[in-house]
Symmetry: C2
Subunit: 436 residues, 2 copies
């Protein structure tokens, strides 16, 4: 049976769903290129990983806490509760490391942060009621999940200092007047992907005040918080949240390793009017039972054992990784400053974040896939056009560089190639008016 | 922030989403009861499992097929392609074991069969266009996934011989006339959960003819095919599908172990009019990138290694499990025949399937949770009310027994307790007109 693409769900024609595939395809065609495209983990972060040892460590823990060795072993092989089996270990780590006081029953373990986003959006949104506000530029995963569920998304500008709070307030007002109130805001206050925005403590408090006043929930994504440069660490929104406005999403993809596919969501919002009611976490677990049933207990055991081996601390678990990513980010920004910051490239500018994987470069010309092809084919350097992260045209002149998985010498060489590309292709074309 | 349950997605108020939680809750309150409720794997099927060895086996395979040991190891730890990394091994097994000739690029590996269902439904259904026909009674997982996506579900009666084809044809006609044509049918032709229906070869061919004539897709769930008694094996619909009408969903939860959370979907339907277009599998992989990104490569490695260790054959992998479940099913049916089949229980009847995990019992009284509480508290035996599997009232007088995870002596004792319960509570009440 041949299917017409118009008969399939509308999300399938959204470029967001194809964005990752496109980047992989370009990378596969230019295997020798230096790629600043993927936000993949650095290979050094895999060196010490020993999944067998972590599983054994977790089984030991289960035995110490009252199970027989056979029961412990079987827990990893059977189905398990939709909400997860390492919730207590994760809750303890978040309390200790981040000051998030989330009881175990407010957590649901998920198949990465992506599933957590889908669960949260599904639970919170009814068809044609309410809209999701997102930082603009925005992580494609949340937009993609919203598209799958036919949830309308409305952009709110994000600067280096985080989401524009005045703009958000205006958006809340106009959305309410249009009968489609902002139900939730998606934001990554700590080094967002791709914007690398970092909200100040004051900004965080103001955002929470606004959420309470306007009655929207804040979906906080904390994937990159661990990369903060020393002294730049700030408490996550959830640690400041006294009104239960924040749903906090995290992942072990970066602080442990992506192949485990383990993330989590904290959702301590009470449902209904009675004091004996359920929590949003209970509802998310029910939704999850119809999405993936449960997160692989084997994978949860790997992550649980890994955490236990590091004293139950995410900060300890991620310390070396954090150092690698801080080193790389410094290398990248330094190289850009040295190669492009001598005043001879007036149309080109970039941000200098203090954490995260990403730097954005503004060019004087539109940045599209044709330009990427030139960069890849003639200069051997890959990057990501920013327009795929924007819900409007604001990113059309930007590209994103990721420094996560390269070594310092490759970053240096990559920036050298990028400089040649920008000088010879972009600035020349701009000067001659060839690209407007 | 307190949330009103009426402000959450409507699926959260559907009893289907709470059904698994309810059973777990009852089981936890009666830990000493013999439970025929869960379709969980038999503990003996876990005995030989050695996940470390399987991972090593898969890494050996990767090295033999051209990767360096370090590349192989990293493949298991990194992100990976949304469509999966063991597709070729699984495709070979399905060709060899089941005569399903599905090229590797038509497969997507998923987080169990549940995610496969969600992906397929999301891709195929647009809001308010088309309906999903399902066998009635029906696996709750497909109904739950449809509810999450606001997809309307229409029941088609299923007998022991499978879906009622005349009823299906009538449903197609009336749905078309109502402007909401049947877009797809969900069916498990080999020992469905909970009906244990088994379609004949002729019935399978007629269903495929009807699908082609009426223009609907068939979503085939093959979770229990491996439990067929010797001689009762029939080719899956996908092996008979010459018109690409069938989307085939499978899981390794039963033939390997559930904790891996690995399933798959075959979707070889071409999209669009050109010959160089995409396949439905490509679209499912794109949807998956926004649901779970990818299936844990570590878990895929465990399953891949397990398959390789069994000569790349699902039949070899599941042989011992198949024997255990056939033994248990025979024990259960024999025990029912001995204890309840002497003619003194005229209001009670049951089916005698030749595969699967489940037997249904028809009672002369309504079967509800109150009756389950009596059975659990006074007689120490648990089962599942069938009404949760029906979209209408047809199952109100039925209960489901699962034989999968008990040993023969427990099955015997369980049926003894069940007989006491039925004799003393159900038949007495029926005789006295106490329950109507």
């Amino acid at each position: 049976m041949r299917l017409h693409s118009s008969s399939l769900h509308s999300s399938l024609r959204d470029p967001v769903l194809g964005s990752i595939g496109f980047l992989n395809e370009v990378m596969s065609r230019y295997p020798e290129a230096i790629s600043f495209a993927p936000g993949a983990p650095h290979p050094d972060t895999f060196e010490d990983i020993d999944t067998e040892r972590y599983v054994d460590r977790f089984i030991d823990y289960l035995v110490q806490t009252g199970r027989s060795p056979e029961q412990a072993r079987r827990l990893l092989l059977e189905y398990g509760p939709s909400r997860g089996i390492i919730n207590g270990i994760v809750a303890d780590a978040l309390r200790r490391d981040h000051g998030i006081d989330a009881p175990e029953n407010t957590l649901v373990m998920t198949v990465g942060a992506q599933e957590a986003m889908l669960l949260v959006l599904r639970a919170l949104f009814r068809s044609a009621e309410g809209v999701l506000a997102v930082a603009n530029p925005c992580f494609v995963g949340i937009i993609g999940a919203a598209r799958l569920l036919d949830i309308d998304v409305i952009p709110v500008d994000e600067t280096d200092a985080g989401i524009d709070l005045d703009g958000l307030e205006r958006t809340c007002r106009s959305s309410r007047e249009n009968g489609r109130p902002v139900r939730a805001l998606y934001v990554a206050p700590d080094f967002s992907n791709p914007g690398a925005a970092h909200m100040s403590l004051g900004g965080r408090r103001k955002l929470l005040d606004l959420a309470e006043r306007e009655g929207f929930l804040v979906i906080e994504d904390n994937a990159y918080g661990f990369t903060a440069a020393a002294g730049a660490e700030l408490p996550p929104l959830k640690a400041l949240d006294t009104a239960r406005s924040v749903i906090h999403i995290g992942t072990f993809a970066k602080v442990a390793f992506p192949g485990a596919r383990v993330g989590y969501v904290i959702a301590d919002q009470p449902i209904g009017s009675s004091s004996g009611g359920t929590l949003l976490a209970d509802e998310l677990a029910a939704v999850k039972s119809m999405v993936t049933v449960n997160t692989s207990p084997l994978c949860q055991a790997v992550i649980g054992g890994m955490l236990l081996e590091h004293g139950g601390s995410v900060i300890e678990l991620s310390r070396r990784k954090s150092e690698i990513y801080q080193r790389n980010l410094t290398c990248l920004v330094d190289a850009l400053d040295r190669h492009l910051g001598d005043g001879s490239h007036p149309g080109i500018r970039w941000n200098r974040p203090c954490g995260g994987f990403f730097v954005r470069i503004h060019l004087p010309v539109p940045v599209d896939t044709a330009l990427l092809e030139v960069s890849a084919a003639k200069y051997g350097v890959l990057w990501t056009p920013m327009r795929q992260f924007y819900l409007d045209q604001a990113g059309d002149h930007q590209l994103r560089l990721s420094c996560s998985y390269l070594d310092p010498e490759r970053i240096e060489e990559g920036v050298r190639r990028l400089t040649a590309f920008l000088s010879e292709e972009v600035e020349r074309r701009w000067d001659s008016g060839g690209i407007g």
